[in-house]
């Protein structure tokens, strides 16, 4: 079952064509792949997330999706700093620390698209004042934005 209809898929494909400024890699972490049975809902959520990401990646030759299993690839999880799943690390020319935790459904699908586009731009659209302030931060900033699908 396709997540996006023809019209939406065409729209997203066009946006990627017009606006993606670099290659983007999606590193998706699922609790497990195949074989192992998981508590029902978590497994369904993870599978649904994987399907959405697969469809999104198919809409541009510049987007690559890599699927990892937390259970069998702990070193990959450590490398991308992923401890909870489902999780998607969104990487552009570099790893800017952008992570999406959970299923990109509802309005959050639009969030996923914007994250992909923003990550592809080497220069984010921030004001000079913002860049100056961020350049002077003392410690690291771990920013968690909580949302709910509607």
């Amino acid at each position: 079952m396709a997540f996006l209809n023809e019209q939406d898929a065409a729209f997203v494909r066009k946006r990627f064509e017009d606006e993606l400024a670099s290659e983007v890699t999606l590193e998706f972490f699922t609790p497990s792949i195949g074989g192992l049975a998981l508590p029902g809902q978590d497994a369904e959520m993870a599978e649904y997330a994987r399907q959405i990401l697969t469809e999104v990646a198919a809409l541009s030759p510049r987007i690559t999706l890599n699927v990892h299993s937390m259970a069998s690839e702990p070193e990959a999880a450590a490398r991308f700093g992923v401890a909870r799943t489902p999780a998607t690390a969104i990487l552009g020319a570099a790893d800017y620390g952008v992570r999406f935790y959970g299923m990109p459904a509802g309005y959050e699908f639009a969030t996923l698209l914007e994250l992909i586009l923003d990550v592809s731009k080497a220069q984010p659209p921030l004001s000079e004042a913002t860049k100056a302030t961020l350049g002077r931060l003392k410690d690291e900033a771990h920013i968690q934005v909580f949302v709910t699908p509607t």
Binding site: Y101, G102, A141, H142, V145, F146, V147
Partner: protein, 58 residues
């Protein structure tokens, strides 16, 4: 972070209205904020390096 999928975190940070942003687990705010305000919270949470001036600042 999808609050409904990570209820333990939503509870830990008292997430009721979204979007809720938590920085370094201590600084938090609700709602979409303009860029300058958002950056202000980041600076508050992560601290700012001392400006390199010769005069003393408190």
């Amino acid at each position: 972070m999808e609050a409904s999928e990570f209820p333990d975190l939503a509870q830990r940070f008292s997430v009721y209205a979204v979007p809720k942003t938590v920085i370094n687990e201590t600084t938090e705010f609700v709602g979409a904020q303009p860029e300058a305000a958002f950056v202000g919270y980041v600076a508050q949470a992560a601290g700012m390096q001392e400006a390199s001036t010769t005069s003393e600042e408190s």
